[in-house]
């Protein structure tokens, strides 16, 4: 299976969508080669707008374009989208419930060598808290394509979180993934690992190691963090009685928090959260950083053991 970054899959899927739908306009902020909107720009120059290094203006222009009937896809790095332009997203895009899909790449610590200033570990939290904002974090290339297509048909603002690092495929090209519906990738009885983004593949690897130890766990890909698939989550809480969340994001405000909010209200079971522990990232190779910040496959295995002890 070939490795592919979710940003690569985004660029390809965006081009295909652009061929089918004339109302699509794409914006970027001088990062089109990195975010992979460059291909769309080459084929549809009249529907591509480079905002230059001006993310706030890009979000404001996106709102205006959407208000005029366009379906807008706006891309830059996650830290400059969710961070720099937060208030434009909140007040111009979300408050007006406009059809702007913010497709942010280079999320999380696997940005690597560029370092902490460029590694967004807060963007899920920032976007999730905005009323009406859908938040989607695909695990691999094929699911990115599938979810992007569905996002086009779902009116309203959305935040699609994409990565720089090439990752293994979790899904087949012809997967039947559905927006807003989590996926039970593995079914086990003792605990449930709920993961998103590039951590889904690692959760599956951990599941394999745990299986060999005779520990039976479920693995859920919670690609849509908002609206969260409550039904599936409560079902897994009932069936397995313990949950571990795994994300390449701060343990504050992201997937782990979203899961805790639902589980504590509807069916309290022990939940442990894995993610970046309230700190900034730094320069390093992506794999090295995942190990350094405790997001290795072994770390997940160990955390499941801890979870079973307190269950």
């Amino acid at each position: 299976m070939k490795k592919q970054a979710t940003r690569e899959a985004y660029g390809k899927a965006l081009l295909e969508l652009g061929k089918q739908h004339q109302d699509i306009v794409v914006l970027d902020a001088d990062l089109s080669k990195s975010t992979k909107t460059a291909e769309f720009a080459r084929v549809f120059p009249e529907r591509f707008i480079n905002a230059g290094i001006a993310e706030q203006n890009m979000m404001g222009m996106s709102a205006g374009l959407a208000a005029a009937g366009k379906t807008v896809f706006a891309s830059t790095f996650a830290v400059f989208a969710a961070g720099r332009a937060f208030e434009q997203i909140r007040n111009s895009i979300a408050y007006a419930a406009l059809d702007v899909k913010i497709c942010a790449t280079h999320a999380g610590i696997t940005v690597g060598e560029d370092g902490g200033s460029h590694q967004s570990v807060e963007d899920i939290a920032l976007m999730r808290i905005i009323p009406g904002m859908r938040v989607v974090v695909p695990a691999d290339g094929p699911s990115t394509g599938q979810l992007l297509e569905q996002l086009y048909h779902r009116k309203g603002p959305a935040y699609l979180r994409l990565g720089r690092l090439a990752v293994d495929q979790v899904y087949a090209e012809d997967n039947k993934l559905e927006l807003d519906r989590g996926v039970e990738l593995k079914i086990g009885t003792e605990a449930t690992i709920v993961a998103c983004g590039i951590m889904v593949d690692r959760a599956i690897q951990a599941w394999e190691l745990l299986s060999r130890e005779g520990i039976s766990v479920s693995v859920v890909d919670m690609h849509t963090i908002k609206p969260l698939d409550q039904e599936l989550l409560i079902k897994k809480a009932k069936e397995t009685g313990a949950i571990l969340t795994v994300e390449e994001h701060s343990i504050i405000g992201g997937l782990g928090s979203a899961v805790c909010e639902i589980v504590s209200e509807y069916y309290p079971v022990p939940v442990l959260r894995m993610g970046i522990k309230d700190q900034f990232g730094q320069s390093g190779r992506p794999e090295e950083l995942l190990q350094h910040y405790g997001l290795g496959v072994e770390d997940i295995v160990q955390k499941v053991r801890n979870l079973l002890e307190i269950k």
């Binding site: 970027d28 001088d30 990062l31 089109s32 080669k33 990195s34 460059a38 480079n50 905002a51 230059g52 290094i53 001006a54 706030q56 203006n57 830290v79 400059f80 961070g83 720099r84 690597g112 060598e113 560029d114 370092g115 902490g116 200033s117 460029h118 730094q282 320069s283 390093g284 190779r285 090295e288 950083l289 350094h292």
Partner: protein, 275 residues
């Protein structure tokens, strides 16, 4: 006012060359990073660190030191090379650039490396930071000066103009801005992506004293720096015409060298030219 003489010019030239050699070498060792914009800024940074600024490498926190903020933080290698050459840390440490645990982060981190005055990397923010430092200098009636460098693509950030308005409003004649005008950003020429031109006229309209120089001509940069010291009651911007990748013929004015590090072969080729 500093004296401009042959000896000083020669010394700065030698340092600029040493800085360029370090840039190419450390980026090659790192395997990633921003080569073009580090090389375009080398002559200006050499003038600042080896002629213009009052600094004490043995006492990096000396309160009357001049400050330099690299707002275009992706050009971190030029800053690191200058700091190492100036004696803030051993030059061998340059080879740890971008490696896990190194104080030489991909973008400058003031909490990790002595001599770095501001944590930058998010374009547009360093200039506001420098305005803040210059305001503090005024409040405390300190003699030191604050220097800041932005890229010409960086001028597209609205924040740059908010900072510029503030600097003129508060009459910050202790602030000196360099625009590294190399004509390129990531997606192409600044004139094609989103033109910030006419740059000098914009700054003039914002209340700044504008000086235009060739950013690779060391005596001219020195002359501009001396001229800037004589300006009272307004901030000064030096719009420096530069070439991205300057010094390595195969990188010069080529957009693909913005965020690419030279491999071994390319490094050798570059070092052969940098003599």
């Amino acid at each position: 006012m500093r004296e401009i003489n042959d000896r000083a010019v020669l010394q700065v030239k030698e340092k600029a060359l040493a800085i360029r050699r370090h840039i190419v070498t450390m980026l090659s060792a790192a395997g990633s990073g921003h080569t073009g914009g580090s090389l375009s800024a080398s002559d200006i940074v050499a003038c600042l660190y080896f002629w213009e600024m009052n600094l004490d490498p043995a006492n990096p926190d000396w309160e009357n030191r001049d400050r330099f903020v690299l707002s275009k933080g992706h050009a971190a290698p030029v800053l690191y090379a200058a700091l190492a050459e100036r004696g803030f840390f051993p030059t061998e440490q340059l080879m740890t650039l971008r490696k896990l645990g190194s104080p030489l982060q991909g973008h400058p981190d003031m909490r990790k490396l002595a001599g770095v005055e501001a944590s930058t990397g998010s374009l547009g923010q360093g200039i506001s930071w420098a305005v803040g430092m210059a305001l503090a200098g005024k409040i405390d009636k300190k003699p030191h000066r604050v220097y800041v460098m932005v890229g010409d693509g960086e001028l597209e950030e609205g924040m740059v103009w908010e900072a510029s308005m503030a600097a003129a409003h508060y009459k910050l004649d202790n602030l000196l801005l360099f625009v590294d005008h190399n004509g390129l950003q990531i997606d192409g020429k600044i004139s094609e992506v989103l033109s910030p031109e006419p740059i000098s006229d914009k700054f003039r309209a914002f209340g700044w004293h504008v000086i235009e120089v060739d950013g690779h001509h060391i005596p001219d940069i020195m002359e501009a720096l001396n001229q800037a010291r004589r300006v009272k009651g307004q901030p000064v911007v030096i719009v420096a015409a530069t070439t991205k990748g300057k010094g390595c013929s195969f990188m010069e004015d080529r957009v693909e060298w913005h965020g690419t590090a030279p491999n071994r072969e390319e490094m050798d080729k570059a070092l052969a030219e940098l003599v």
